[in-house]
Symmetry: C2
């Protein structure tokens, strides 16, 4: 390895300065961490189709209400879903349009390669 910390045309320091700050990097990692679980992925794909209440999601994924509820909390903490009450049920929906874009890119990647 070069002693001057130079890789090709850029120094390590130069690259370091162009990186987003530590906090943003953690935020990005935390966001993708939420997408990195199959149960949550399924919930999100379900919500692409329609608003859904907890029990509908539990049926759709064939999982317990509790498991879904825990995961919805994770999704809500990451501001990926919103909820609203309607009668006795609480309906969940996707929070913003970036989510679909992110998934489209991800889907392209796996389809092209594997």
């Amino acid at each position: 390895m070069t002693k001057e910390n130079v890789c090709k045309h850029k120094s390590i320091l130069e690259i370091s300065e162009k990186m987003p700050c530590e906090e943003k990097l953690y935020d990005v990692a935390d966001l993708f961490k939420v997408f990195g679980d199959c149960t949550r992925i399924k919930i999100i794909y379900g919500l692409f189709e329609s608003e859904l209440c907890v029990n509908h999601i539990a049926q759709l994924l064939n999982m317990t209400q509790s498991a879904i509820s825990h995961q919805l909390k994770t999704l809500k903490d990451a501001r990926l879903v919103t909820s609203r009450r309607e009668g006795k049920e609480i309906y969940y929906a996707l929070a913003d349009k970036h989510i679909k874009n992110i998934f489209e890119q991800g889907y392209k990647h796996i389809c092209e390669k594997e």
Copy 2:
């Protein structure tokens, strides 16, 4: 909850039929799982700037060569990076353009919200 498994205008079955198959869903989750770690995020941001060899990355992130090497294996298994030898060093680079798009969307999400 409705007894007919109907949420708004769509039945659970109808939504279920529109979901990608189980295998694809797992692949998508596995892809995002790779993005869900701050060390790997930093490596990827470094590679946005330049091809880098293992020791450069270790310096950039101030981490051990071994830790970086393990993470590069994860990234390579997910087909997110490629490698090529040049003399004694092995240079890593990003594998495709989707990666930058995914990050741009993710970055927008965190900037808008938190």
